[in-house]
Amino acid sequence: MINKVFKTPNEAVADISDGATIMIGGFGEAGSPIELIHALIDQGAKNLTIISNNAGSGHVGLAALLEHKRVKKIICSYPKTAFSEVFPDLYCNGEIELELVPQGTLAERIRCGGAGIPAFYTPTSVGTPLAEGKEIREFDGKSYVLEYALKADFALVKAHQGDRYGNLIYYKTARNFGPIMCMAAKVTIAQVNKIVEVGDIDPEIIVTPNIFVQRIVEVANPLHEHVLVSQNKKYPWTE
């Protein structure tokens, strides 16, 4: 019997080792798997490379993972958001490496990582500092830059509903990087608001096919980052 269900976020992330490369879903807080990230902080893995569109806000979720010095490098398109305090400090002090990638290039590098395509040419960033040192090639008179696929040891994503096979559906703009990150990691761990019976989700509307998901854990009422940030909460919780 196939059963990818884990009881708790802590059990789901228990074997993530030091030095792992981890994709973390989300665009800002929408789709950010905050409970899985907190479990990863509890677990203690360090020297991590994180692939994520942003670098977190306040002192919870991804920002807290950075604040606890678990991350040596972040591959990211927009590390500067409202209420992002941790990343700018670490970056200015030289305590974290940043690989800045245009958002669409980041998405395509992840998609290719999951699709067996090692590299691709894109017009994005040609003539800018982000193309410096990269191979440029002309197709039909237009210049393109060579970009390499991204893969990961683990992906942590948040979806709306899933089943024990690992089929996933998402909620509104919280879908963002989830489906492509599920494809690009050796082990994808999805937190979902609700685990339903196999067959309950209409096969016509499944967004992530179950083959791309290895572990699924239910978090019925996930925390809201903007609420925690407005209350100036820090993870681990102090009281």
Binding site: F27, G28, E29, A30, G31, N53, S77, Y78, P79, K80, T81, A82, F87, P88, Y91, C92, L98, L100, V101, P102, Q103, G104, T105, L106, A107, E108, I110, R111, T122, P123, T124, S125, V126, G127, T128, P129, L130, Y170, Y171, K172, T173, A174, R175, N176, F177, G178, P179, I180, V207, H224, E225, H226
Partner: protein, 203 residues
Amino acid sequence: MAKLVANDIPDGSYVNLGIGIPELIANYVPQGREVIIHTENGLLGVGPAPAPGSEDFDLINAGKKPITAIKGACFFHHADSFAMIRGGHLDFTILGAYQVSQNGDLANWSTGSPNDIPAVGGAMDLVQGVKNVFVIMSHTTKDGNPKIVKKCSYPLTGIGVVSRIYTDLAIIDVTNQGLKVIKLSPGIDKDTIINKTEAELIF
């Protein structure tokens, strides 16, 4: 400015709006026109801002502000969203800028200052893939320095990508011949705009 831009977007267009002033354009689409607004984090069909108290933080725009979705809207993941952008499927993108040069180079993601946290987002993808790249910005900096320049001094977002510039003083098209002023704002004369622009202008 946002109203002027909104007026120039034809019925049936697919439009991406950048962060900041461009977000306001959605409020000025003239009655009777259907314009589908794309937000690169994964939605076609951005609707008006939600009523206070009914915000959903899983339904946000590229600026991470809560939005609504119109009837007929659809959600998609990031690789699809940037296939729409890079693949040339969108008609317009409206972006802010630090500088635009004579030949339509755009600088809008970094001032290049060592204290600046580098962040690029989707700007470099948008300028390469969207059919018409419109810039909306103040004509000069807060200190009165020209933002329409011969050559950008800030790091580039793209080379020769801008098609039109809307400022508080004028609407300017980027043409093969150079920057052509197609409309001056009320009360603005030729000399004023020439003085506040470093690049050559054609009238």
